[in-house]
């Protein structure tokens, strides 16, 4: 059962990383236009280099 002392913190830690990533995405307005983002990748406009913002 010693393995539990490792596995439980690891699984919680991985989950926490996911949660932190989600909160970061939320804070940086990445959920403001889900429909547009779903469509944007279809256009090849900024395929070569990122959009200069």
């Amino acid at each position: 059962m010693d393995v539990l002392t490792m596995l439980i913190p690891i699984s919680l830690g991985l989950g926490a990383i996911g949660l932190a990533a989600f909160i970061w995405a939320l804070r940086t307005h990445q959920f403001d236009d889900p429909q547009g983002d779903a469509q944007r990748f279809l256009s090849s406009r900024w395929d070569d280099k990122p959009r200069p913002d």
Binding site: I23, D33, Q39
Partner: protein, 732 residues
């Protein structure tokens, strides 16, 4: 956060003016300060990846535009263009085939920084994270972890679940508290009770080293209910932003003349006795009497008449009318609360309270459900305690009953359907402003249409011109000199004719245009000015062209039918609904249009109060009326009807009074909306049946004391998923 039932019930405000006025005033006040760099335009017709690239490319190619970004979810484009106005950019988009309207960034600020929505999303994320981790531990327990391991897993679950429930359950606790204080049982009371009881029982059981802990159930409940809450919030936020968007379209300002100096002031600052100037093409900002100038007045939005009325000194004008041809100076007789506009608003208020509060399906379900759940849980506790005398067992069973009957699927049933239905209608160009509008729309059996501006575009179109070849260039050139709607229609109708060279072109306000052509006087204008005989009762509008000494030529115009109007009426009639045409216009014009669209019932020359009364009579006879209208004269009828729709071109008062707004020009989505609403309501009922079905199966198990956390988790997730999938079927 309000509770579920309160969230559905209210219209945006009991009084449309209260909703629109402060926002509009705020807009007017801000208009004094220099314009923003960022412009926001609404794009009702954008829908795909190609639209995004086309719009962004066209705008960025326009000189002066630094960047443009489309938000497809909200159908908006944000343009960074210092020094440019919406008037410069709207034609750019029109050229590539996109409708665009200006929006005020200030009025929209609240919706872009949607704090409440992000707050809910955050809670969903946290509860999702907690749910997954607790589930991993629970599965170990369900598959047979024993003694110390089980206790350890339960304690870790408790450490994750308790803070999660405390944080994520806040929206439910808050609204349950408000409804308890108001002595009502909303849907949130059993939810909060289940959350608290499940957590408390589980902590107690864990401390006693018991077998069953419901931490996973409590957190899962939070997760699913928060999703329902978020969907509901989003639907209402879109509705709110739609209302804000609409008020942002019109800025009420007036040009005040003080000691001969012109000054722009908000309409609210006007006082009786003030002199104001109204330019041709401008809307009259307050009731008043003309002191100087001659012009023609378009009353279409107030009365539904398509024919402009000549106006001269001494004539009384009402706010909302449009000045057409000549500049006017008006002495204000009533402004603000005393104006005819405000009186009409009062009429709307009265009509609205007459319509009463509609009880939504969700409210009706909650009203029956909550007491039943509480009674059931209490009965199971009392029954088991009486039978076994074991307090711990009885409380456990009561908690299991509460968890299993918790309206998890019920909380998702309505928001999931509403989101999917309003999303579908949004893509077709319909904004839903009211939470219960869809349900009310599904009950409609009678549809009342206004004529001018609703079934027609409110813009005349040249239909017949018996002009000799050599006079056509003259007509075109004369027409271009005026901003009168008929002249503009004539110019548009003869767009392929080369205009003739004219001298001394002068516009005679209220009469027409005259000029010299090859030494002769030519005139374009009203029949009486040219000495021609006009038939005032004809279905057509007409204008005349004359060369001195010759017989005048007649030019006929008709109001253009709104695209989709014919199909919309045909479809509604095919579905067996009664269609009525109601207009303030001349009988001949109304009958002509009714004939053309195949509408059997029509009423002409109806006053604004008459319209509201007629709609009221229909309701009294038991009809569920859908009113579609755009004018100020329709406002009271719109508010009185069971449900109402107005086009985006409508006056703001009309848009505020109606439940839905048509953002595109096509009328067909109206017929479609009725069909979608019927299907949506059917889905809601199905969803209620599904979640009730799950309860019928699971509750006896819980009552008998066989419910384990595993069964609770299965029942809850399966019913939530079924309900959501059923709602999504609407999107096909």
């Amino acid at each position: 956060m309000t509770d579920l039932s309160a969230g559905y019930a209210p219209r945006l405000s009991a009084c449309p003016a209260c909703e629109a006025a402060p926002l509009a005033q705020h807009v007017a006040a801000r208009a004094e300060t220099p314009a923003h760099d960022a412009l926001i335009l609404s794009l009702p017709t954008a829908h795909c990846a190609l639209c995004i690239t086309q719009v962004e490319d066209a705008l960025t190619a326009h000189p002066g535009v630094r960047s443009a970004r489309v938000n497809l979810t909200l159908r908006r484009v944000t343009v960074d263009a210092p020094g440019l106005g919406a008037d410069d950019l709207i034609p750019v988009l029109a050229r590539i085939g996109y409708e665009a309207h200006e929006l005020d960034p200030g009025a929209l600020a609240a919706t872009t920084a949607d704090r409440a929505g992000r707050d809910l999303l955050m809670r969903i994320g946290v509860s999702g994270f907690a749910m997954m981790n607790i589930m991993i531990l629970s599965i170990a327990v369900w598959s047979g972890a024993e003694a110390a391991t089980r206790d350890l897993f339960h304690w870790i679950s408790a450490a994750i679940a308790l803070p999660t429930v405390a944080f994520c359950g806040q929206p439910f606790f808050a609204s349950a508290w408000t409804s308890v204080r108001a002595r009502r049982l909303g849907m949130d009371v059993p939810i909060s009770l289940a959350l608290i009881l499940a957590s408390a029982i589980s902590v107690f059981e864990t401390a006693q080293s018991g077998h069953h802990a419901y931490f996973d159930a409590a957190v899962m409940l939070c997760f699913f209910l928060l999703i329902g809450r978020y969907l509901d919030h989003r639907t209402r936020a879109i509705a709110r932003s739609a209302a804000a968007e609409l008020t942002a379209l019109e800025v009420p300002r007036a040009t005040l003349l003080r000691d001969g100096v012109e000054q722009t002031v908000p309409v609210a600052d006007l006082r009786p006795g003030d002199l104001i100037r109204v330019r041709p093409g401008g809307r009259i900002p307050a009731d008043g009497e003309i002191t100087e100038g001659a012009s023609e007045i378009d009353r279409a939005l107030l009365t539904g008449e398509t024919l402009p009325v000549p106006a001269g000194p001494g004539m009384i004008l009402s706010a909302g009318e449009v000045n057409l041809t000549g500049p006017l100076v008006i002495r204000v007789t009533a402004a603000g609360r005393d104006s005819s506009l405000a009186r009409l608003t009062a009429l709307v208020e009265a009509a609205e309270s007459a319509r009463g509060r509609y009880t939504s399906l969700a409210e009706r379900a909650a009203r029956g459900y909550s007491p039943a759940v509480h009674a059931l849980a209490f009965a199971s506790f009392a029954g088991w305690f009486w039978a076994s005398g074991d307090l711990r067992l009885s409380v456990n069973i009561a908690a299991a009953v509460l968890i299993i009957t918790c309206p998890c699927a019920l909380g998702l049933a309505v928001p999931a359907v509403a989101t999917s239905a309003s999303g579908r209608l949004f893509r077709r160009g319909l904004l839903i402003k009211d939470g219960t509008a869809l349900e009310r729309l599904a009950e409609v059996d009678t549809v009342v249409f206004d004529k001018t501006g609703t079934l027609t575009m409110g813009q005349p179109q040249l239909v017949r011109a018996d002009l000799p070849q050599d006079l056509q260039p003259v007509a075109r050139a004369l027409a271009e000199a005026s901003s009168h709607p008929l002249a503009r229609a004539l110019a548009a109708g003869m767009a392929d004719v080369e205009p003739a060279a004219l001298q001394d072109v002068t516009e005679r306000p209220g009469q027409g245009v005259e000029a010299r052509w090859q030494g002769q006087r030519v005139r374009l204008g009203r029949a009486d000015w040219l000495g021609a005989a006009d038939d005032k009762d004809g279905a057509m509008l007409s204008s005349w062209l004359a060369i001195d000494g010759q017989r005048p030529f007649r030019l006929d115009f008709a109001d253009r039918l709104r695209p989709g109007a014919r199909e919309c009426v045909a479809r509604l009639r095919a579905e067996g609904r009664r269609v009525i045409l109601l207009s303030g216009d001349r009988p001949a014009a109304v009958a002509h249009l009714a004939d053309e669209l195949g509408i059997g019932e029509c009423y002409a020359g109806v006053s604004p109060t008459g319209k509201a009364d007629l709609v009221g009579q229909l309701s009294d006879q038991g009809a569920r009326v859908l009113m579609v209208g755009d004018g100020l004269n329709d406002t009271a009828a719109l508010a009185r009807a069971h449900v109402s729709i107005s086009p985006a071109s409508a006056l703001d008062a009309a848009r505020v009074a109606s439940d839905m707004v048509l953002t595109g020009t096509n009328l067909l989505p109206v017929a479609e909306a009725v069909a979608v609403a019927e299907r949506a309501t059917r889905r809601i009922r199905e969803n209620f049946a599904i979640s009730f079905g799950y309860n019928v199966v699971a509750v006896p198990v819980a009552l008998a004391g066989f419910a384990t956390p595993l069964i609770a988790a299965l029942a809850m997730s399966i019913s939530s998923i079924t309900v959501t999938l059923n709602a999504l079927r609407l999107n096909r």
